[in-house]
Amino acid sequence: MPVNMIVCCKQVPDPEAPPAVFKVVNNKMTLPPEVKPVIGQYEEFALEAALKIKDATGGKITALSLGNNFVRDVIKKSLAVGADELVLLEDKAFEDGDSWSTANALATAIKKIGTYDIIFCGRQSSDWDAGQVGLGVAEILGIPAVTLARKVEVSDGKAKVERVIPDGYQVIEVTLPAVIIVTSGIGALRYATLKGIMAAAKKQPVVWKPADIGLEPSQTGAAGRRSKLDKLFQPVKESKCEIIEGETVAEAGAKLAVRLREAKLL
């Protein structure tokens, strides 16, 4: 049976950028232009989870993203790797939301999309790391959710999910439709094929403003927040590392052992 899937993706500044380039200016994270936006790492895993199901049983994947000023080549990666449609909630009014306003807008858009068996989300965004939106979408839609999925199979209107727990995993069966929130372990997102990239280049995303999904701008983004960001800051950290040196690197290794014994650490 073909499975209708929606994958929520977020465009974020590359989280792998070196820590030194992250600078807070006037309560906002500012990054130099060489730090390129990417699709969040856990959303990439979510996309891969959906693609694996499409491979196995067939189905349709709609990628859904919320933000403003999307870099088309970045967000269209979802199409290039195999998603069938891309819906962008793109407007200034969607900016600077919290988990509540984001989940509310996504859930409202998902109702408008209408048909879905599985909504895939990543476990947490790679910028704010809150880990709430997927569960929020499930609560608003009134459907079940399984978190920390590392493997998903679908049959007979149900999904079988391997959910990571601290000392292993559980196999959980959930009735569909459901939200499935993905962690690592599902496998890296596949590379786009040349054919995929060319097809994606020709495809235009559907763009919805707040009014297109029946929301007032006052209900979205910063205006729709329930929690207030009072301050963003970077704690000052002074480095006090004692670098052990030697004639050779191996000698430095041996001297480190001596130094740690002296300091009674080991």
Partner: protein, 333 residues
Amino acid sequence: MAEYKGVLVCGELADGKLASITTELLGCGRKLADELKEHLSCLLASDAVGEASKEAIASGADKVYVVEHPTLKEYQADSYMQVAEKLAKDVSPRVILIGQTSVGRDLAPRLAFRLGTSVTTDCLNLSIDAATKLLVQTRPVYGGNAQAVFTSESMPQIVTVRAKAMSPLERDASRKGEVIPTKIDIDTSKVRTKILETVKEEAVGIKLEDAPVIVSGGRGMGGPQPFQTILKQLADLLHGAVGASRPPADNGWVPEHLHIGLTGKIVAPDVYIAVAISGASQHTAGCSGSKHIIAINKDPEANIFREAEFGVVGKYEEVLPAFTNKLKELLAG
């Protein structure tokens, strides 16, 4: 409108005992409640709560709501949520504290959305604003590259708290408190998930969370093999455990339960030896509570040297054998 008062801790049990995260939450909750001059209560829900309720009082709670039901033996969101939602509505606390654990991560956002309020996850610091009485919530963002301070006027104010971020109180068996057995009907027909199987994958030997010494490898290890040889030899010598940063876990070089970091385990050993780990904030979020961090990395600019107390710049293939051999000699002597 209901009046919101007091602090409620959503407790967890581990092997029938009060989990360490719960004693930490009670320690933090006690301070907040005292500052508010209000009471601290604790919810314990399981198939059998037993002595843990008394432990919660010894750890700082004024009231412990004990909910026992066979379906609460293992955490399932749809059954736990019925308990948490009902109790939150009945007790009507100003603040709800939940652990940033496997259970808390899953439960807290659901509870917040169900109650129509907000939650701030993974808090490191909490205090009460004297003027507004609001909970001031500090948490890391951008993979640990910054911290954000939040407040919320929607009640109850829910937060999850990172493990080991707060200190438990000194256990005091003479503390007075009230255990309140609470009956909450759980409608099992509303449980939309079924646990088919629970599989333990934990490696034999010392658990990461309990190990006094951790030898951890990163992307620079280059593959799975060094984790089983060169890192394991050093860990064995020091009666410690082997860990990893995220890339080795993502690449399948090590099982996920060895992953230390923001989205893995949070550890705080006496000595943490980071080998070929660049020290992304995402990783240091999981190990910065260690008493002493030692770094071995070929890149002198690697961020891990900003976290470490001692370091050697060089390829681990050359540094580590010499280090391990010398240490063996010193420990034998």
